[in-house]
Each structure stands twice: as structure tokens, then as C-alpha cells.
Amino acid sequence: MSGMANTLPIEITVNGRRRALRVAVHHTLLDVLRDDLRLTGTKECCLVGECGACTVMVDGRIVDSCLMLAVEADGAEILTVEGLAENGRLSPLQQAFLDKGAVQCGFCTPGQLMASHALLEANPNPSLDDIQEGLAGNLCRCGCYVQITDAVLSVAEGGHR
């Protein structure tokens, strides 16, 4: 077996589109999204599940895609940052990140958006504490935490900040 990649077929739905792929069993979902599907919005960073840059939604829940094998996603529905905009228009959450200056270098932004999107789906009216807990798995080395929480609050139900 040495030198021969061990592969398996999988079927996943990514941002609404069904994809049948053959993936290496030791490749993560992150590897397959970026390298096989060329969806490079999802970022590779710490690779130990601490920074959240690789956050995507799998069957409605956010996960670190660096800690999940692509074969484990077989049959799953996946949403990446590329799936947030509709018909070329940014989602209100994405627009709020721009308006509030929540993006500096931008590397953590896709993960922050996915975690915020999941938080708002589960809790449309989060408190500041809820946002801090919901985003605790997403690090921003530029330190835009205040602007990020402002952006999330501004699109929360009844949020006017």
C-alpha cells in the first residue's frame, strides 16, 4: 500500500449543490473543501481545533473542519462561507461585518461569520454573553472582538447599535 492513496467515494451537499467525490481517507473535510472543491474561503490555521478559522456547518451545526475526516461527512449537508451570500448579495451578517469594521486582516472572518451565523440561527436575540460564548472557539489575532460582537448584535433581532 505504500505510496498508494487509500480512497473512498463520498456524497456531500455543499452550499446546496450535490457533489460525488472520491477522497483520500486521511484527508480532512477542510482539505477536501479547499483542495478538491477549491472553496478556499474556509481557512486552514491552527489544525488543533483552537482557532476556528476552518469553521463550517455540517448538518446544521458548526464544526472545526480540520478535526473531521472528509469520509465522516459522507451524506452530510455542508454550508461554507461561500454559501452565505445569495444571488451575489452579501448576507446582512456579512454586510454588518464590513459596516462595523469587524474585518482587519480578514483571515479569521470566514470562521467568525460561520460561528455567528450558527449562533443567530439558534438564538436570534443573543446577549453579549451569548455572543462571547458562541464565538469562544474563534480567535482573532488582530483583536477585532469588540467590532465582531457589535456586528453580530447589530443584526440580532431588535438590534440597533
Binding site: 481517507v25 464544526v63 462571547q132
Partner: protein, 291 residues
């Protein structure tokens, strides 16, 4: 990451047969939040990875029948934190599940993985010890039940046999009215491994159970039946003497990065005091509801 053979058994019998056939060359994959890191850094190099998440017998994840709550091994900690029967009967386990890692980690990490890694800092371990949980394990000779206090050996080592896997955790709903709480110290708010973990329960007969972790090779369970800790009016000196006896087994590593041994031992006493007060508060709150 080095490649491997990926197996995804659909039944418990298939999983046991795979473990039996491959022995130490196989590793079980549940949530993957520990194993995938180890596969990537090369500290685990199995020839076969057995994904247990689609085994029929491990579903449904959490159920309650006849005074026993059964949590399937692959139940993720986010679901345990949100589970109605867990929150109702085992509030300290719900507390603990809610602080594991981050949302992303809690959506993947399983209770079976948490106890099988047997990290001394495992968040779910102290509450499972306090509630007297039983680990249901399946192997080539059938199923057996292991009291959780007989399960942990040291970091990464349990009393599971080489071809056994955890199927579920069973917890008996306490017969007595009980208040319990889980507490931890971390270096930062949010996502961190604990420097000290502690769970305390107090029941209406005055029995106090404490379990603590991250201060030795495995989490430790101790009981105070004198009623002193459970008595809010007992003098502090009397309580301190009991805590000293209960914490005698704590032996924190001098080499850990997260906190020095002096800090951990000091915080164990702080958490002990806080947790006893909080557990009594929860017990009294239940009394008011029932009265």
C-alpha cells in the same frame, strides 16, 4: 497525516470483530477532536481507524427508562448539555458538558471519547464519578458493566480490554433529593483545558460527594458522611479538616504547562468550598420546589 484503512461498521458485532482482528493496530474514531490531532502530529499511527458513529446500537443518543438515564457513547457533549433528562437529574453533568472546549468542539466531542481518552482533566469525569455512572462495554465475550470509579487508570489508560469498546454510560437517577454542581479553573475565559476540575453533590441526608481532576494521574472520588460539609452552620475549621482528608490524594504534576502544583492545590480548596455552597443552594432550591 499518514494514511490508514477507514472502517465504518454499522453494528456493534462488526465493530468488535474489527477490534479483535486488528488489535493494537486499530484506533476507534468517535468525535475525532483528540484522535485527528494525534493522527496529524504522528503520535498515533494506527493502520486501521474504526469510525463508531454509525453503529445502530449506539442510537438513540440519550434516553430515560425505569429510573436509569442511558447516554450512548457517541452522544456529543452539546446534546448532553441540552438534554432534558440530564439537566433534570444530573445538573452537574450538564454544567460540565456545557464548558467542554468551544461550540465547534462540543458539536463533535463525544462522552465516550472523553472518558476513553481518560485525560485527568476530562470535564465529564468528576460528575460521572459523583453520580456513580456505570460504563457499558462490549467485547468478544459480550457486554459488561464497569463502575466508572473502576474505569480510569491514568491519562490515556482505562480498564477496557483490548477488543472492548464503550457502548453507553448508564446513570441511576438518585433516590435521595440531591444538589450538585461542576466547577473548573482555566487560564482564560472561553476555550481552554481545565487546570482544576471539581464536582460536588450534597443529598438530603447530609452525604457530600466530591470528585476532582487535573490534579493527579486520574480523577478522584471521595465521600464525607459526617454531615459536616453539608451543614452550612458548621465551623470553617471543622470543614477544613474534612477537606484536607478528602484532598489527600491530589498530586499535581510539576511538569504540566497549565498551572503549578501549588496553585492547583490552593484552587482545589477554593473550588471545594464554593462547590459545597453551590450544591447546598441547589439542594435547597429543589426542596422549595417539592415543598
Amino acid at each position: 497525516m499518514q494514511t490508514f484503512v477507514y472502517e465504518r461498521p454499522a453494528t456493534l458485532a462488526e465493530a468488535v470483530a474489527l477490534l479483535d482482528a486488528h488489535g493494537p493496530n486499530a484506533r476507534l474514531l468517535a468525535g475525532g477532536t483528540d484522535l485527528i490531532i494525534r493522527l496529524r502530529d504522528g503520535s498515533a499511527r494506527p493502520g486501521v481507524v474504526i469510525d463508531v458513529k454509525r453503529i445502530a446500537e449506539l442510537h438513540p443518543a440519550i434516553r430515560e427508562d425505569d429510573g436509569i438515564v442511558t447516554i450512548g457513547a457517541t452522544a456529543v457533549v452539546a446534546d448532553i448539555a441540552a438534554s432534558e433528562p440530564v439537566r433534570r437529574h444530573f445538573e452537574a453533568l450538564a454544567d460540565a458538558a456545557a464548558v467542554v472546549g468551544s461550540v465547534q468542539i462540543r458539536n463533535r466531542a463525544t462522552i465516550g471519547g472523553n472518558i476513553c481518552n481518560a485525560s485527568p482533566a476530562a470535564d465529564t469525569a468528576p460528575s460521572l464519578l459523583v453520580y456513580g455512572a456505570v460504563v457499558v462495554a462490549a467485547g468478544p465475550k459480550g457486554t459488561r458493566r464497569i463502575p466508572i470509579d473502576d474505569f480510569f487508570v491514568r491519562s490515556g489508560v482505562t480498564t477496557l480490554g483490548p477488543s472492548e469498546l464503550v457502548v453507553a454510560i448508564e446513570i441511576l437517577v438518585p433516590a435521595r433529593s440531591t444538589g450538585a454542581v461542576h466547577m473548573r479553573r482555566t487560564r482564560r475565559r472561553g476555550h481552554d483545558l481545565a487546570s482544576v476540575t471539581l464536582c460536588c453533590s450534597v443529598d438530603d441526608t447530609g452525604v457530600t460527594r466530591l470528585a476532582y481532576g487535573s490534579v493527579g494521574p486520574r480523577p478522584v472520588l471521595v465521600t464525607d458522611e459526617t454531615g459536616v460539609l453539608a451543614d452550612p452552620g458548621a465551623p470553617d475549621e471543622a470543614k477544613a479538616a474534612i477537606f484536607e482528608r478528602m484532598f489527600a490524594e491530589a498530586s499535581p504534576s510539576k511538569r504540566s504547562m497549565r498551572a503549578g502544583p501549588e496553585y492547583r492545590l490552593a484552587m482545589l480548596r477554593v473550588l471545594g468550598n464554593r462547590a459545597v455552597r453551590a450544591a447546598i443552594g441547589r439542594l435547597e432550591a429543589k426542596g422549595r420546589v417539592e415543598a
